[in-house]
Symmetry: C2
Subunit: 357 residues, 2 copies
């Protein structure tokens, strides 16, 4: 796919068509909308890797019986601040938003709460969850395990996930929302370089033997490097260990379920909410906003210094006003998915939504 | 000080002499031992930057009336899982260990607990705290703010702390203990290079104008770079914001109290404990230990792949058996501190400990 091949679509249309496709897969309207909106949020924020192209993985997993599109999560408070969540193989955002609602209700009473989530699917971008928590005066943390894609520092093999970390901090004006992977680069970017026969920058990846490579094709059969060398490796490993131990889910190369359509999901997610006011802090602290302004003003040589969340917010505002530039290939595939549902499975929408003819 | 100028001292002697010096400053025996042991732990683990040389900062701060060597922290549970801690300007380890005791007691009931700590001093190495929590079946997190030493990514000025992060995860055998700063390198190392007129590696620091430099002298008046570029900057900023907001302490360049003997402490610390068993996980998971073994076995070209905590544990075992190589200069200064207390302030020990003659 050439880079220039994009179509501009307004966000409402993106959500409506994605939601229709998800309903076509058997999702109830509310779940379809939540999952669709979350995918479109990634497009709006300039992160298409977490956007509409994930729809096809979800569809393939539904078709393979690995995702239950109508599933609702089960909740158990095992202690006043401890929530254990079984996603019942449903959509990630459906599980995550309901979990956050439960956490935000309880956190007023206990100060800090955590949810250990298993048997759910890809949460997608973390920043919308962090914004939800920050909007309720809470510091939020989100940790997820992912498929093995990253090599150990000094070693060979894709033995670590890209194990992303989300941190949200409420502040006057806009919150800080860190939403980062612990890999140096996304797997999608390496595949993109390989497809176009381009040379990788140094430090992005290693080959199957664990040796640094700039050959994208060799990197595809190797592993992504951790960001930040030894420290980034140590951080990614630690986050993956926290998720695995707390949720009782798989570790390293045994994590499955966000990229394939073959295996039951074995990933885990952890969400923590901390009510700032309970600890005597101020959720809308002007001090923090002033500090952010100082940082943003510190750039040299025309470089922009940003606070985590700034870029995504700017991208979102622009895209809401002017429309989203979506990959034409991806947009075609959404149409094909919708068409296939209409042609191949007449009446399926209704039956799957429980309205028997 | 030339690098070779070290003396080998056994750990017991290190603790005894350090504790004596702290008693000489007015610390009760229990506090003196706790603080001394914590400094010596850093020497044992191969991190002298957090070891005995910190004793002189503590002494100067006591002399300036900024540390109360006899202080005990005050605790308030503002909610079932929320502990607010006032260190009352006492020693960091005294506050931290008592805080952890409170957290570990409560976490059995609520699943997750957090402490927001203010008006305390340098916690020192984080890994001993993480080991304490892991030893009780808990995942532990420790966040601290520090003086501004790190520049924003793309900007000038030492506007961020090195804001360290500690993560501990219990496992069969030894726990994982991540104890890392978010700076590319320690301030001490840059000072050391400057003192010896050595050229810095690329990527360690910027000058006062924010431009990358390998001139150690220019780096001293500039700032340390964040580890891992833009991501490391974003992470360090996020951690500093969490600590500042939750503890109501200072942000960025306003953080004081671990390096100087002029200002009241304005740093903050956050400790979180999560009881793995309450969430249905296994604290002594053999799966995690097996995963660690797989990682350790993945090294190529003779490189060692480690799990966070491995190196420190190996260094500690060796040093406990063979003695610790301490900087001769630092060891001389410990002796001088002890001598000055004996000569200059006869009877001070007793008066300061509240035993009036």
């Amino acid at each position: 796919m050439p880079r220039s091949s994009v179509v501009r679509v307004d966000a409402v249309t993106l959500v409506e068509r994605s939601a229709a496709a998800l309903r076509g897969l058997g999702a109830p309207d509310a779940s379809a909308r939540l999952q669709a909106e979350h995918l479109v949020e990634a497009e709006l924020r300039g992160h298409p890797s977490h956007g509409l192209r994930r729809l096809f993985v979800l569809a393939a997993r539904v078709d393979a019986g690995l995702i239950d599109p109508a599933a609702q999560p089960s909740f158990e408070w095992t202690a006043p601040s401890a929530l254990v969540v079984d996603g019942n193989r449903g959509f990630g955002p459906v599980t995550a938003y309901l979990t956050i609602d439960m956490l935000l209700h309880r956190v007023r009473q206990t100060g800090i709460v955590a949810a250990a989530m298993r048997r759910t699917h890809h949460l997608g971008m973390l920043s919308p969850y962090l914004e939800r928590m920050a909007g309720s005066g809470c510091i939020g943390l989100v940790l997820s395990s992912t498929e093995g894609l990253v090599h150990p520092w000094g070693g060979a093999g894709a033995l670590l996930g890209t194990n992303p970390l989300g941190i949200g901090v409420p502040a006057a004006g806009s919150p800080l929302t860190l939403d980062m992977s612990t890999g140096a680069v996304s797997a999608g970017k390496i595949l993109d370089y390989a497809a176009r026969g381009m040379t990788l920058p140094e430090g992005w990846a290693v080959d199957a033997e664990g040796r640094s490579t700039t050959d994208a094709a060799r990197a595809v059969s190797g592993a992504i490097s951790p960001f930040g060398g030894a420290k980034g490796y140590a951080l990614g490993l630690s986050l993956g260990a926290v998720v695995g131990v707390l949720t009782g889910t798989a570790l390293g190369a045994d994590v499955r379920g966000t990229l394939d359509a073959e295996f039951e999901t074995t990933k885990g997610d952890v969400i923590v909410a901390i009510d700032v006011a309970v600890f005597g802090g101020s959720a809308g602290s002007p001090l923090l906003a002033d500090y952010f302004a100082q940082l943003r003003g510190s750039g040299i040589d025309g470089r922009a210094v940003t606070v985590p969340g700034d870029r995504a917010r700017a991208s979102r505002e622009l895209a809401l006003a002017d429309g989203v530039d979506v990959s034409a290939d991806v947009w075609d595939r959404v149409s094909e998915l919708l068409a296939s549902q209409a042609v191949d499975t007449p009446g399926t929408d209704m039956r799957r939504e429980g309205i028997t003819p």
